[in-house]
Every structure is written in structure tokens, then in C-alpha cells.
């Protein structure tokens, strides 16, 4: 073991309360007291690890310091992915920091020190909830949550994917909460407080799992922190300050039954911090000796108020090492390097120490795969598997696979280069804006900047935005800011771009001038002391006097500058985007009332022709009054029909907007009233007359269908030619849809018919809705026809059915109450390119309901095998539904997700079956009933898409090769 105290790691003698090593091991953060504020410092790890780096002046030691915390920082913790740093302090705040990649090294403006921040870390989120000092923060496994605990006796669980959302506040402690630790499996979080208790909370429902008080009942006195820790195998939880026979101990709590039979004894004063080594170890194999199977063990460091540090192996009864008098004051925090061989300790005395162990001393660390195997043995769930396993140790067995893997890497590398690009291109990026160099902009900034006058005549300058701030980006979600900002039109073309984004709430307010009131603060104000270069201005000695007098003016908030006193009552109004407003309000109506076409089509339309959309929306609105109710329980329609009924219909296959206009009772000819149907698309029009009142009219790109009061249905071509003589319906029409050359009719007697008017055949013949309606009070809430001629009926109870004409059955394709939908978690399996494929009739029926598992954020709350099963069941259901709806793009979409899920979760048998079905028989035989296509997609093409997914997991490399070879073989044939 080597021991080092790097003296350069300090907060100028002020206490260091927390230390944490970055997951990549290249840097570490310290938190503690600064000059007049809290301080977080990020240090370079290399000079700690290597003496030559420490001596090399070109290698920076300090990377960044942040004094944004108003008061002492008690805890700093890196997120597991290393992107964020969370800090909590006496100012009751939790701050989340992110590296601002686009900013190069810089000094603080006006600061005399030449010490530049090498890396720029910016506070991207301030979490305000606690009413007292924040003592500890902890990221959950996979960074799903961030927990913080405080002297306000509560623990806040923050949604780390959606800051500053609070998932839950855990209340129950009756004393200051001073330590937090997550169960490495993610099932629990444990907290220790001054109230002589250690509580374990479930992450499933955030309720108390157990409350352990016995080992703490004797605890007298108090420690600044109580940092407890959970072992990497999840089996043991070790508390800080506990007592046994009036001696201070660290209590070991077994996961199994929360038994408290063992403890770490030996420290003379209270234990402040316990930290488990992230690695699990096994005994070092001696050269020559035969490998004996030995139990893996964990390693744990314990720091105490008695200024000593002990390191324990769970396989030994006595500590591995005890170091006394390492510091002058209490140990405050411990952190291990990720490889498990290094250890940083910090103390209240403001110093840190680094311990370096060898593998001979600690043992052989298990690799990730072995660790996963242990997790899987104990919990049936491996953390790594859901996160894409790192099977670095698996041997690639054949060149095919190797080639594939290399290709993958090559594909990833450009991305990687891009990611690091902005850092390298810093000067370029900040100096070029909208194609204009920063220099050009600066030259003309005065002329170009937008200056207005407020109502009271004050100048107001709109600053030129050079770059938007680093923002907390959540994986998979778009830039949040965009949604809250609306474009503002700027008359100045050059600045328009950069000023394009501005908050929609735009208070043109003025700041009230209360300078005088604030003067009392000036005494305590921070003073930035900067030496004045004496040789520059001093033209004569006599000038020195006034300058001294002037010096005070730099630092005092002046009394004589009350400013322009005016608090005008201006109310800023962002000009309303009226066009957008009106269209967005009406659009949903259009969706509901347009009976023939599906939702996504309307979206397309509104994008292509906004003007048309608005007119259309109005038309639809008028029509609403007269539309017969689509009540499926189904009585003769008795509503009076209005004089004029309009109906809108659009089709996505054409860019333009199509109108159908109906006018009933245009003229009365020999006692019978005539109704007129007008059709127009892109200026082309036709009209026709019908002898009865029209109740519904609808159309598609190919046909127009009209239902009349006299229970007839007429079908015309898109050019107005009658296709078939009037169809006599058994009951009045309730809903009528067209799609392509299919016509669907839902009658008032709850029967469904679908015709193919081109082939003149019936796909569905007067099929009763009774099977799906009987036994419920539900009514038909929505119905539509897919482009493939599948009729879909949604009921008011949230269930959606389609009629399968080959089986002649009603099939349930969506159910809003379905718990599978809510619990299935396949977010890991959805890739960003998939978004387009997910559009279709299935998505339409399931709608927003399908938010990729709303409850799935409680990832670890449910037993993993249960969740796995639910997701599997759900995905298979989606696949079958897409198949029955004849929706090819959705089938492909879900097939890929399904395949990814199978690969991630390791369902080899199902994967094999899937591949077998897609590949089909290699040798043709007459008896085989294998279809080469599914929904018009060639199965073997699908397999070609699925195989790379399989290839991502080396565990399936044999499967991959097997099918890859066969595909290759078939291709050669």
C-alpha cells in the first residue's frame, strides 16, 4: 500500500467535507467551505496517481472551481454516467453541474489570478426543496433518480431525467438526515439520521421497508455526517456511527431479514463515513498453486471522528489496514477509484489523502461479467443486461462476427469524434455566428442591436445572444427550451436568427430602484482586490492622492446613484401568434369530426397547407351540428337535419386539400327535394344531385361515398362518376368511412359492412357489433378504416377492436386499461430512427396512451422477471396487432423493438424462433407452407435488418453467424 497526501489539493485551509472520484477516473471533485461561500473544486487525477505528472507544470492540477453555493458544500457526487455532478450545501440547495463543452479555458473577468479554469462546469439545475442544510446526495443506479437528504429531516427523491421534478419526499426521520445510500440493485434506498435510526425505503412505493434503531440507541453526541454504504453485491448495508457495548462501531445490516448481528469494531470515536469498494474481489491466485474455488468478498473503508481510517475485507475478521493520525481532524468522506485499488479520503482539516493498493493486497477484482453473474444469481436480474452488457471478455469466435463488430466501431467512431468536436473547436464555434464572424458582429453591434423605448421612455436593449446555455439534456427528449419559446419576429435580419428565441412570457418590466435600501449590505460585500499597475496612469505624483480617494468608489454601492426613478406600469405583451392560435385550436376538432381519415394524415395536411387547413377546420365545425350521432346503441336517428350540411374530407396522397360540400334541398322538383354534392380539389370541381337528403358524405383519393336519409348509399369515383347503383342499407347510416377504394359503413342497427368498390366485393358483410358491445354500456366512440381496408372500432370504454375478415372475428387491438401497456418497459429498445415507423393505425388507436410505459420509470420497483414478462407479452401483442391491421410499417417497427428486447434480455429460444420464421426453409419443398412475405415485406429482408441487432450482443454470436451464413447461402442461390 502506498500513501500520499497531495498538499495542493486544498481549499486554502478551509475544511473539505466531501470528495468523489469521477467514474472515468480522470478527475475528482471536492466540496467544502470557500472564502465567503461554498466551494466545489474539480481536480485532475493524474497528478495524484503519477509523480511525474505532479511535477510537470504543463499538466493542470485544478480543472475548475465553482463558488456558486452560497454556503458550505457538504456533499459532491458524480452521476454514474459521469455527465453530471451534484452538490448539496448549507444553502439548502442541490446544484447539478454539467461541463460546458463549447467554452474553452477562461479566467474570471476582472480577476487578478492567472489561474484559468481548464474545464468549464456550469450549473444547469438548481434544486430547491429543502428547508435546511443539504447533508448528502446520491444518484441511483442508472441515474434514474437523485436523492438528497437534509437537516429538515426529509429525503427528496428527484427525477433525474426530468429535473426539477420531485418524485417523492420521504418523511419519517425525526432528526437530521445525514447519509444516504442506494441499493446497487435499485430496490431500496437507506438513510441514517441523528434520530438514532437507520431507515430502509422501498423504491417501488417509497414506503418504509424497515426501521433499525437498536444499534443506534446508545449513540450519544453527534457527528457532522453519517455516510452509510451498501455493498456492491447488495447483501450488506453498513451504517455509520453505531454503538455496541458502549464502543463505537459500524453496524453491518444483512439484506436478508435486516439482521444486525455483526459490526466493524475498533474505532475509538464515532464512525462518520463508510464506503464500499465498487469491486467484488476474489482471492489472488498464487503462481503454481492450483486454483481453488473461493468465495468472492467485498472491501470496505471506514473513516471516523478519531481521525483514523480502516480498510476491511469481508473475508477477514480483522481489518486489512488501519491508519492512525492520518489527519488533524475528523474524516469526512471517502471515495474509491473505479478499479477498486485507489482510495481518496478527505478531512475537516482541509486535506485529502490518497491510498494506493495492489492486487496482492486486495485480491483480484471480478470483471463486470462476473459481477453481473453474481447479481443474476442473487436477484435474477443483472443491472448490466438492461444497460447493454459489456462483454469485453467474450471471445469473438469467427471472422464474420469480428468484421461486424469492427464495422460497428467504425460507425460509432465518427459520432465519437463529433461529440468531442465542439470541445476542440471552441474558438471557432464562439467566433462564428450565423456565418458572420464574431468580429464582424462586434463591429456593427452598436448599430445592429435592437434598442427600444419602454412606455416611460427608458432605453431598453435586447442583448445579442451568442449562445444558449448548456441545458440539462435528457436522453431521448428534444431540447426542452424550444417548447416554451415562441419565435419573435425581428425586423433586423442579421440579428433575427440569434434573437429568434425568446421567452413567451416577456415582461417588459422595469426593476424597481431601491439602491438606497441596499446600501446597508455594502459593508459585507465581497471585495475583489486587484492590484493596480502603478506605472500606467501615474503621470505625476500629485495624482496619487485622488486615486486613493477614488479607490473606495470601486467597491461601495454608491448612494448618489439612485438611478432614474420610475416604476412604470408597463405590461409586456408578446404579440399573439394568432394564426397559429386559431389553427391549433381548431385542429383537434378537425381530427374528431373528419370521419374518413386518420389522425396522422391531418397532421401532414396541416403542414403542407395551412391556409387550407383553417378553412377546412371551419367547415368541419359547421358540420358538427348536423352530424348524426354515432351512437351504437342504435336507434333510428331522429335528429332534424339541418338545411345545409358540410363535410370535409382530405386525402394524404395528394398535396392539396379536398372539399366535399353538401347542400340539402337545393331545389324542389315535382315534390321531391334535391340535394347537391359538391366536390373540389385543387381547383377542380364537380357536383352531382341526389334525390334525398344527404346525411353523411365522405371521400378518399379514389372514391366518394354518400349516405342519404332514405337509407341509400351512393358511391362515386373521384371524378364524380357513379360506380354502383345505390346500395340499400338495412338501417340508417351511423358512420361512413372511405379509404382508398374501400368503403366502410356502420349502421344504426350496429352492423358493420366493408366493401371493396373497385373489385366490387364485400370484405365484411353486415357483421354485428354485438360481440364487442354486449355486456357493456360502452358506445362506439370512434371508428375508422385503414388504407388496407381493415375496419377499426373504438368503444367508449377505451377498448379498440378491428374486424378480421379472414377469421371473421373481432380482435382486441388496444385497451387503455391494459396494465401491460403501462408496465411494459422497452424504452431501451427504441432507437431514434424508429419514430417514423411507429405511425399508423395501431399507433392511432393506442394514441398517447402508449407512452412507452408510464410506470416504467419505476424501473426497479417491480421484480425484474415480472417486468420482463410483461414487456415481452406487450411487445408480442403489438406485433400481432400490427399484423392483423395489415400495417406493414408498424409491423416492422415493433418487430425491431421486439428483437432488440429479446437480445437485451437474453431470450435465446424466442430469438431463434423469430429468425427461423423470417428465414424460412432453406431448401424449397412443396409441403412447406411458408410465405416469403409478411404484409408485403420480404421476410428475409426483415431478417437482414434483425441480424445486426442480434450481432450487438456477443452472447448470441453463434446465432448471428448461423443465420448470417444461411442468408448468405440463399442470396448466392
Amino acid at each position: 500500500m502506498k500513501l500520499l497526501k497531495p498538499s495542493w489539493v486544498n481549499h486554502n485551509g478551509k475544511p473539505i467535507f466531501s470528495v468523489d472520484i469521477h467514474p472515468d477516473g480522470t478527475k475528482f471533485a471536492t466540496g467544502g467551505q470557500g472564502e465567503d461561500s461554498g466551494k466545489v473544486v474539480i481536480w485532475n487525477m493524474a497528478p495524484v496517481l503519477r509523480e511525474e505528472d505532479e511535477k510537470n507544470e504543463n499538466i493542470p492540477k485544478l480543472l475548475c472551481q465553482m463558488d456558486n453555493h452560497l454556503a458550505c458544500v457538504n456533499c459532491v457526487r458524480w452521476s454514474n454516467n459521469g455527465l453530471y455532478l451534484a452538490s448539496g450545501g448549507d444553502d439548502k440547495l442541490v446544484m447539478v453541474w454539467k461541463r460546458a463543452a463549447f467554452i474553452g479555458p477562461s479566467t474570471v473577468f476582472g480577476s487578478s489570478s492567472k489561474l484559468a479554469n481548464v474545464e468549464q462546469w456550469r450549473c444547469v439545475m438548481i434544486l430547491r426543496n429543502h428547508t435546511g442544510d443539504v447533508m448528502d446526495v446520491a444518484w441511483s443506479p442508472h441515474d434514474v433518480w437523485l436523492a438528497s437528504c437534509s437537516v429538515d429531516n426529509t429525503i427528496a427523491i428527484w427525477n433525474a431525467r426530468k429535473f426539477p421534478e420531485i418524485v417523492m419526499t420521504l418523511k419519517g426521520h425525526t432528526g437530521l438526515v445525514k447519509g444516504l445510500t442506494w441499493d446497487p440493485v435499485g430496490k431500496y434506498i437507506a438513510s441514517q439520521a441523528d434520530d438514532h435510526s437507520l431507515k430502509v425505503w422501498r423504491t417501488m412505493d417509497w414506503q418504509l421497508e424497515t426501521n433499525i434503531t437498536k444499534p443506534f440507541s446508545e449513540c450519544g453526541g453527534t457527528t457532522h455526517v453519517l455516510r452509510l454504504s451498501w455493498s456492491p453485491d447488495g447483501q450488506y448495508l453498513v451504517s455509520a456511527h453505531a454503538m455496541n457495548n458502549s464502543g463505537p462501531t459500524a453496524q453491518i445490516i444483512e439484506r436478508d431479514g435486516w439482521k444486525t448481528n455483526m459490526d466493524f469494531v475498533g474505532h475509538r470515536k464515532a464512525v462518520t463515513v463508510v464506503k464500499f469498494n465498487p469491486k467484488i474481489f476474489k482471492k489472488k491466485q498464487k503462481n503454481g498453486s492450483t486454483p481453488k474455488p473461493s468465495c468472492p468478498y467485498c472491501c470496505c473503508a471506514v473513516g471516523s471522528k478519531d481521525r483514523s481510517l480502516s480498510v476491511w475485507l469481508t473475508s477477514l475478521k480483522r481489518p486489512l489496514v488501519v491508519i492512525h493520525d492520518l489527519f488533524d481532524k475528523s474524516i469526512m468522506d471517502i471515495t474509491w477509484t473505479l478499479n477498486g485499488l485507489g482510495l481518496l479520503v478527505c478531512s475537516m482539516d482541509g486535506t485529502v489523502a490518497f491510498l494506493d493498493f495492489s492486487q496482492d493486497e486486495l485480491g483480484d477484482p471480478l470483471n463486470e461479467e462476473e459481477k453481473n453473474a453474481i447479481h443474476q444469481n442473487i436477484y435474477g436480474k443483472s443491472l448490466a443486461i438492461t444497460m447493454g452488457s459489456q462483454l469485453s471478455s467474450t471471445i469473438i469466435e469467427n471472422p464474420e462476427m469480428l468484421k461486424y463488430q469492427q464495422e460497428q466501431q467504425r460507425n460509432q467512431n465518427p459520432n465519437g469524434a463529433q461529440a468531442s468536436g465542439p470541445e476542440n473547436q471552441t474558438p471557432k464555434l464562439t467566433n462564428v455566428l450565423n456565418g458572420e464572424s464574431l468580429e464582424d458582429i462586434r463591429k456593427n453591434l452598436l448599430k445592429k442591436q435592437v434598442e427600444t423605448r419602454t412606455a416611460d421612455g427608458r432605453r431598453r436593449i435586447t442583448p445579442l445572444c451568442i449562445c444558449l446555455n448548456v441545458s440539462f439534456s435528457y436522453p431521448g427528449t428534444s431540447h426542452q427550451r424550444c417548447s416554451t419559446l415562441i419565435p419573435q419576429i425581428s425586423s433586423d435580419s442579421s440579428t433575427a436568427n440569434s434573437l429568434g428565441l425568446r421567452p413567451s412570457h416577456d415582461p417588459t418590466s422595469t426593476s424597481p430602484n431601491k439602491t438606497a435600501e441596499d446600501n446597508k449590505d455594502s459593508g459585507t460585500a465581497a471585495v475583489n482586490s486587484i492590484g493596480m499597475k502603478s506605472n500606467l496612469l501615474l503621470t505625476s505624483a500629485s495624482k496619487i492622492e485622488p486615486m486613493k480617494a477614488l479607490d473606495s468608489r470601486f467597491t461601495e454601492r454608491s448612494k448618489a446613484t439612485p438611478g432614474v426613478t420610475s416604476v412604470p406600469l408597463t405590461i409586456g405583451i408578446t404579440p399573439l401568434d394568432r394564426v397559429k392560435d386559431s389553427s391549433s385550436v381548431k385542429e383537434p376538432k378537425g381530427k374528431d369530426e373528419t370521419s374518413s381519415d386518420s389522425e396522422d394524415k391531418i397532421v401532414v395536411k396541416s403542414m403542407t397547407k395551412r391556409k387550407g387547413e383553417m378553412e377546412g377546420a371551419e367547415v368541419v365545425e359547421k358540420r358538427k351540428k348536423g352530424r348524426p350521432r354515432k351512437d351504437a346503441k342504435i336507434m333510428p336517428i331522429s335528429q332534424p337535419f339541418p338545411q345545409v350540411t358540410f363535410l370535409l374530407s382530405t386525402d394524404v396522397s395528394t398535396d392539396g386539400v379536398t372539399y366535399l360540400e353538401v347542400e340539402n334541398e337545393v331545389s324542389v322538383v315535382s315534390g321531391s327535394r334535391l340535394s347537391q354534392l359538391k366536390w373540389s380539389r385543387e381547383g377542380r370541381e364537380w357536383d352531382t344531385l341526389l334525390p334525398s337528403r344527404i346525411i353523411i358524405a365522405t371521400g378518399s383519393s379514389d372514391v366518394v361515398a354518400v349516405a342519404c336519409e332514405d337509407r341509400t348509399l351512393s358511391v362515386f369515383t373521384a371524378c364524380g362518376r357513379r360506380l354502383i347503383p345505390s346500395i340499400m342499407l338495412p338501417a340508417p347510416m351511423s358512420a361512413l368511412h372511405c379509404s382508398g377504394h374501400f368503403v366502410m359503413a356502420l349502421t344504426a342497427s350496429a352492423t358493420l359492412s366493408v366493401w371493396d368498390v373497385q373489385k366490387q366485393t364485400a370484405l365484411v358483410k353486415n357483421e354485428s357489433l354485438n360481440p364487442i358491445l354486449s355486456g357493456t354500456d360502452a358506445t362506439v366512440s370512434q371508428s375508422f378504416l385503414t388504407r388496407q381496408g381493415v375496419a377499426v372500432v373504438s368503444l367508449s370504454n377505451g377498448k379498440t377492436y378491428c374486424f378480421n375478415s379472414s377469421l371473421e372475428t373481432w380482435n382486441l387491438i388496444a385497451d387503455k386499461q391494459d396494465s401491460l401497456v403501462q408496465c411494459a418497459d422497452f424504452r431501451n429498445c427504441v432507437s431514434s430512427q424508429d419514430a417514423l415507423g411507429s405511425m399508423g393505425p395501431l399507433a392511432l388507436t393506442q394514441g398517447r396512451n402508449l407512452s412507452a410505459g408510464r410506470l416504467a420509470s419505476r424501473l426497479s420497483s417491480m421484480p425484474h422477471h415480472l417486468q420482463q414478462g410483461m414487456t415481452l407479452a406487450f411487445l408480442e401483442k403489438q406485433l400481432a396487432s400490427a399484423l392483423i391491421l395489415l400495417s406493414a410499417s408498424e409491423y416492422r417497427h415493433w418487430l425491431l423493438i421486439y428483437a432488440r428486447f429479446l437480445v437485451n434480455e437474453g431470450y435465446e429460444l424466442r430469438l431463434r424462433e423469430l429468425c427461423q420464421d423470417l428465414l424460412g426453409p432453406v431448401h424449397k419443398s412443396s409441403s412447406s407452407s411458408w410465405e416469403t412475405t409478411v404484409l408485403g415485406l420480404r421476410k428475409r429482408d426483415l431478417l437482414t435488418e434483425v441480424l445486426p441487432v442480434i450481432g450487438q450482443n456477443l452472447r448470441f454470436q453463434r446465432l448471428f453467424t448461423e443465420y448470417q451464413d444461411q442468408l448468405e447461402l440463399l442470396r448466392l442461390k
Partner: protein, 197 residues
């Protein structure tokens, strides 16, 4: 914590004749969207002896300020020579740039300014009554003196106090029709009325 950090101030048009306007190009960074404007001021210190002779050359509102990095040029007219004591016109003085948010000053940037005659003869024998047309202003741009103050960036507490102290009369006097523009969206009403307070 300070939501606004001044990153840089460049002094433009320096040195320049005394009568030229002051120009500062200010770059600052803002942590999160500010609901209210920043108020910047340029103060010219007429005499080292007394604050009496301080002149606020100009004050501007800067906004809206979304989170991010911004820059603008603050230009203000030269000081009114009539307000400067004749004995202090030539020599070293100070110009200050201050920024306030919600009426609280959180940064003060000071520069030494040297006013000199360019003409050697005038420099040797300066007239009793300063000849401002011949004076050259030289701002010591390389050495800003920056002082930062902790202020309360949040509105909540202060607003509570304000609303208690403020006479409601100005609000009551404002007829509803004088609201600028059409009716603001309902969602904005509470915000704005808070601002009025």
C-alpha cells in the same frame, strides 16, 4: 448564487476626445431565464472628493435575458462638463459600470480614466478654465476593478414585502382600457400584475 456573470467588458473608441460618447461592449452569461430586465448604468465620477459630482451618464434596461451568453454595446453621452468641478476636469478619475437586478446592485466594474491635453503646450500650461475640446479621455481598459455583491435573485420574499408597502392607488388609477395592446392572455395576467406591484 449569482445568476448573471459578467464575462468581459471591452472599452470601445478608446482613447478618444473628451466629448465622444462612452462605449462599452459587455458580454455576460446568464444561468437561467430572467423574468425581469437587468438595469445597467454608467456613472462618471466628477470629483474624487465627493459623490455629489457623480453623474449617471445613462441607464438602460437590458432584456429579455434567456439563459445563455449575451452581449450588447452600452453607449452613453460624455459627461456634462457643467457639472464637473473645474479643478477636477484634468487628471485621473473613475468611470463605473453597474448592473442591478430587481433594484439590487450585484456587480460594479470600475475603470480609471485619465483626462489629458494632447497638445504638449497645453499639458505644460493648462488653462484655468478647462478646454474640453482639447482634452483626451483615456480609459485604463486593461485594469478593470470588479466588485461583486450577493443579492437576492429570487422574487418571492421581496415581492411579499413590496406588495405590503406599495400604495395600491397607482394601480387603481389605471383604467383598464389603458392596458397596452389588446387584452393579454389570461395566463399572463397574474404575472404582470405582480410586476406592477
Amino acid at each position: 448564487m449569482a445568476k448573471v456573470q459578467v464575462l468581459n467588458v471591452s472599452v470601445l473608441d478608446n482613447p478618444s476626445p473628451f466629448g465622444n460618447p462612452f462605449q462599452f461592449e459587455i458580454t455576460f452569461e446568464c444561468m437561467e431565464d430572467l423574468p425581469e430586465d437587468l438595469e445597467w448604468k454608467i456613472i462618471y465620477v466628477g470629483s474624487a472628493e465627493s459623490e455629489e459630482y457623480d453623474q449617471v451618464l445613462d441607464s438602460v434596461l437590458v432584456g429579455p435575458v434567456p439563459a445563455g451568453r449575451h452581449m450588447f454595446v452600452f453607449q452613453a453621452d460624455a459627461p456634462n462638463t457643467g457639472l464637473i468641478p473645474e479643478s477636477d476636469a484634468v487628471g485621473v478619475t473613475v468611470v463605473l459600470i453597474t448592473c442591478t437586478y430587481r433594484g439590487q446592485e450585484f456587480i460594479r466594474i470600475g475603470y480609471y480614466v485619465n483626462n489629458e491635453y494632447t497638445d504638449p503646450e497645453l499639458r505644460e500650461n493648462p488653462p484655468v478654465k478647462p478646454n474640453y475640446t482639447q482634452l483626451q479621455r483615456n480609459i485604463l481598459a486593461s485594469n478593470p476593478r470588479v466588485t461583486r455583491f450577493h443579492i437576492n435573485w429570487e422574487a418571492t420574499m421581496e415581492k411579499m414585502e413590496d406588495s405590503e408597502n406599495v400604495d395600491p392607488a397607482p394601480n387603481a388609477m389605471l383604467p383598464p382600457t389603458s392596458m397596452p395592446g389588446k387584452a393579454p392572455p389570461f395566463g399572463l395576467m397574474p404575472d404582470n400584475s405582480m410586476d406592477c406591484l
